[in-house]
Structure formats: C-alpha cells, structure tokens
C-alpha cells in the first residue's frame, strides 16, 4: 500500500491531538507516514508510533522555522517526489492551509480544505455555507492534498513500526523571503484548546464584559472558553478565543452560547456542534433557532446557579 504523508502539528515538541486524528484517517487511505519538522525527540517519536505511524520522516528545521510557510511546502514537495504518496494530510489552520495551497501549485495537485471526514477511496466531506450544506468531493488530479479540521476523527491507539528516517530537504533562498521576526507563544489557559475541546462554553456582548459566570460553567464542565466577535472587539477576551467566520471554527460535542445573539458569522464557527445550548435574555434571539435546549434568562443568574448544581452532582 502507498504511504500517506501526515504533517505533524506540534508546539514545543508536544504533538497536538489533531495530528493523531490525521494518523487515524491516513490508515483508511494507505500506510501512515508522519512528517515532523524539528528534531527526532523521543517523546514525539513514541507518540507518533503509538498512534500508528509506520514511518516518521524527520526534517531538520534549522532553515525552515524562521520563515513563513514556503520552506515547509518546498520540503514537502521533495518528500512527495520521493515517496509518491496516496495523499498528504495536513491540519486545517492558517499555516496548514497555506502549506497545502503552495504544495498544490508545486505538484499540480488538487486540494481540498477543511475536510471533516475522509472515506476509503479518498472521498472527503466538507461542511460549507456556514454549515448549511454538506459536500462530498474527491481529488481527481495529482496527489490529493487535504486539510482536515480538528475533531474530525477519533485518534486510534494502535502502534505502527515508527521507523525514523532523516530527510534532508533543500530549501531555496526564494522560500526564505517572509521572515518570522518575532513569535510570542500564547499563554496556556489551563483549559482545553478551543478547536480540540469536546465542550465549548462561549460568551458574547450579553456578558457585559464579566466572563466569570461563563468561565465558571466552563470549568465545571471541563470545557474550553470561547467568545463572540463583539466580546473580542470590546477587548474583553483575546482574539484567539473568537468563534466564527473570522475566528476559530469549532465542532464540539456540546456548544453553550451565553449572551450571544447568533449572527450568521458566529454560526459559521459553531453550527456543526453536535448539541447546542443557549442562554439569552431575549426569547427572539436567532440563536434559539439552532438550539437543542435553550434558557430564556439572565446569564449572570442562570449560569452560576447551574454551575453550583453541576458541581454538586459531580461530588
């Protein structure tokens, strides 16, 4: 069977969960080979192996990490030439999508972005038009290059051979034209990562800037915290918490929208959640058209009381 290249998404040597999901999807298309930019740190190798990587290509990133996107696409092109893979899978995100775009041009291949599922045979599912349509498509030319949204598959802990192979990529000067001058890693919130979380509890303008009730409920449920653009624009929450068209797109098991009206741009980021709950004081709020369960009420009284009851039940 052909190899399937899975580009490893990691922060400071910790493999992020969406990569493990890609390894599970890769097994449907061929034999998973992880591509890791960085050094072959044993923790990373063990993790990739445990989740099914048969091969792990380690690409030294000293000429890669200081520049935006282009060097990674170049290295991947060289790996594609060497391995003729059945597909290249990349996590959907700013960087992942742009690597995919460049790689598609370089290899003359079809690209599919934001897949939420891949079937045997390479048929992908995407959710489009703010989640109103579901589209199945397939790459018909070149090497399928597919970016996959986090939470699209369950990681499978079935070990692969995990054979490490150093791959020496040649990075051209022209790929080194956009420099990463500074990079400030985001502070860990201690809560689950927004795009990976099984539960997201969000707040909007209706919080009036006081997110403590939203955060309290999130912590009781072990959830990530999200925000509407109105809450972000008001400076109440950092932009990295924004859910929606121009923020993060999440598809958790449960999404709880508090003091959020449900504008189309917000829906675009959460409409595919399995279960949707809203607390809003206006019974006419459009968010109620989407919900499985809604409470018409003041979030500042409903949320703390619910949080207290949840804590009691847990004990």
């Amino acid at each position: 069977m052909s190899e399937v290249l899975v580009v490893v998404d990691h922060v400071d040597g910790a493999v992020r969960k969406p990569t493990l999901e890609l390894l599970a999807l890769a097994k449907r298309l061929g034999t998973p080979s992880a591509v890791h930019f960085g050094s072959a740190d044993s923790a990373i190798v063990e993790k990739l192996k445990a989740f099914g990587a048969e091969k792990i290509y380690v690409v030294d990133d000293s000429e890669i990490k200081g520049y935006l996107v282009a060097p990674k696409a170049e290295a991947l092109q060289q790996l594609v030439e060497k391995t003729s893979p059945a597909a290249v899978l990349i996590v959907s995100g700013y960087e992942g999508k742009e690597i995919a775009g460049r790689l598609a041009v370089k290899t003359g291949s079809g690209i599919i972005t934001d897949a939420v599922d891949i079937e045997d045979g390479g048929v992908t599912t995407q959710s489009v038009f703010a989640g109103n349509y579901s589209v199945k498509s397939k790459v018909t030319k070149g090497t399928p290059i597919i970016t996959v949204k986090p939470n699209s598959a369950a990681p499978e802990e079935t070990p692969g051979a995990g054979e490490v192979e150093e791959f020496a990529a040649t990075i051209s000067d022209s790929a080194k034209k956009a420099q990463i001058v500074a990079s400030q890693p985001r502070k860990a919130s201690g809560r689950p990562e927004l795009t990976e979380a099984a539960i997201v509890v969000s707040g909007g303008r209706g919080t009036g800037g006081d997110f403590s009730a939203v955060e309290g409920l999130a912590d009781a449920l072990g959830a990530a915290v999200g925000a509407s653009r109105a809450a972000v624009d008001s400076g109440w929450m950092p932009h990295s918490f924004q859910v929606g068209q121009t923020g993060k797109v999440v598809s958790p098991q449960l999404y709880v929208a508090n003091g959020i009206s449900g504008a189309i741009q917000h829906r675009a980021g959460m409409q595919t959640a399995k279960t949707i709950v809203a607390v809003n004081k206006d019974e006419e709020a459009p968010i109620f058209e989407l919900v499985d369960f809604g409470v018409v009420g003041d979030l500042q009284t409903v949320l703390p009381a619910a949080t207290e009851q949840i804590e009691k039940r847990k004990n």
Binding site: V69, R229, V295, A306, E308
Partner: protein, 267 residues
C-alpha cells in the same frame, strides 16, 4: 507605489446560497456582492495609499462572471483608482489552481503595463463563500513573492513591511521586503462606506474587462474540465429541529439546564 487588491464576487451570505446541477456554486442566480472580507483588503490598500501619497495607484482585480463587475465597482466607489474584471466563459467552475493561475497572470499583465511588478498584491483573509484561505499563498507561490498573510496590524517603511498576526499558536511578527503578497483580517479595522462623492467619482474611473486571450492563458488550463477536484454530491443539511426552550423563573432555568446536560451525559 502600486497596489493590486484582489476582490471576489460572492453569493450574499444572507440570501439562499446554493449549488448548480453540476455541483458548482450558483454565482449567477443568487444575488452577489463584494466579499465582505475583501472590503478590509480594499480599506488597507486605501490607507496605505493615503499614507504613501498621491502617486500611489490602487487597482481592484476580480475574476468572475460579468455580474462580478459589481464587486469591482464597489471597490472603485470606496476609492480604488482602477478596476479590472477578468471574465471568460472558460473560467467558470475553476478550482483554486485555476483561479490562482488567472489571478497571477492578471497581476503579471498589470506589472507589464506598469513596467514593474506591483509593490503589494493585497487579498482578504478568506473568501466568504469558499473560506479556503489558500489563494494568497498560491499567488505568492506562482508570482515567487514573499507572502505576508493574515495581518491584524500593518506597518510599512519604504519598501519594508511588518505585520502582526494572531497565528495558530502564537502571536507573530512577519517581515518582508516589497514586492509582496499580503492578506488582511477583519482585525485591521472597519472598512469605509462609499461616500456620495465616491459613488459619483467611480463612474468616471477606468474599468477594463479582460479575457483569457488578453492574458495569454490557455483555456484548457482553467475551468471545470481542468479542475483537479470534483464535487460528487452537495446536499443541504436538514435544518436543525427546534429544541426545547424554557423561561427562567426563580432559578428554574438553571435546574432545567443542569437536567438537560445530565440527560445528555455531559456531567
């Protein structure tokens, strides 16, 4: 300075967006407009022009059906100096490879007419219909220019550019030297509305329509037949059935909410 802003004509998100029988996006039967996210790109181009002085020229470039001229016109009304629509039957149904090829060739032609490469090719962070966020990087690849993408804050000094952006896991500063391809997010600040004066002035601004032949692009390389991916099925998701809505009275809302979460095993 010369800035080319890539503006896309998209189906209105508040209208009923749908697919054609061949599974391509219906771009003619549904009301369209300038992609909202590209308004931010036009705005930033205009702000750079205002900063750099009057010899700066902003050209709005769009690839789309004839109706897409509306998107170019809106950019002109906002303040762009020139407009170009690339429209050709053969382009319909193009995928990202086809679209980025035509855009790149159009930018090259603009460069030939100017006698030098435009300093900035400005894009939105994503189109509101496809949400791909890939065209700017593909353009940079095709034009062999540095990509400076997803800008939240832009600073320029001469031909030096620095942007701040909220990357996937870090806040980053990206630096490059013009000419560049840039994409901007909605964090760059509200886009202006066309003024009455702007609307009147736009009527006199140059607006050209180019075909593939004008660009010297082989029709075989674009359109639905050249597409590298195919949509096999597009189905409307069943609308969410309205759930249970309760009104909070003296704490009943919290209890009902807790019961619901417990019944779904979230607690």
């Amino acid at each position: 300075m010369n800035i080319v802003v890539c503006v896309k004509y998209v189906p209105d998100a508040t209208a009923d967006r749908r697919f054609e029988s061949d599974n391509t996006v219906d771009r003619v039967g549904v009301d369209g407009l300038l992609s909202e996210l590209d308004e931010y790109a036009v705005e930033q181009a205009l702000q750079l022009k205002e900063k750099a002085g009057d010899d700066t020229e902003v050209t709005a470039l769009c690839i789309g059906p004839e109706k897409a001229v509306d998107a170019v016109r809106k950019a002109l009304q906002m303040g762009a100096d020139k407009g170009i629509l690339v429209s050709d039957e053969a382009i319909a149904g193009s995928d990202y490879l086809g679209t980025s090829l035509v855009l790149a060739e159009a930018v090259k032609k603009i460069g030939q007419d100017l006698g030098k490469s435009p300093d900035i090719v400005m894009c939105g962070m994503a189109s509101t219909d496809a949400s791909g966020s890939v065209v700017p990087a593909m353009l940079a690849e095709r034009l062999d220019l540095p990509q400076v993408t997803f800008a939240a804050v832009i600073e320029t000094q001469g031909d030096q550019v620095r942007i701040k952006r909220d990357g996937d896991t870090a806040t980053e500063v990206i630096g490059a030297t013009m000419p560049i391809v840039m994409s901007v997010t909605d964090q760059t600040g509200e886009a202006r509305y066309p003024s009455f004066k702007g609307i009147m002035a736009a009527k006199k601004k140059p607006l050209e329509t180019w075909t593939l032949a004008d660009l010297g692009v082989d029709a075989e390389l674009v359109g639905l037949t050249a597409a590298t991916s195919a949509v096999e099925e597009a189905s409307e998701r069943p609308p969410r059935t309205a759930g249970e809505i309760v009104t909070d009275e003296d704490g009943s809302g919290a209890t009902a909410l807790t019961e619901f979460l417990a019944s779904k095993k979230f607690i």
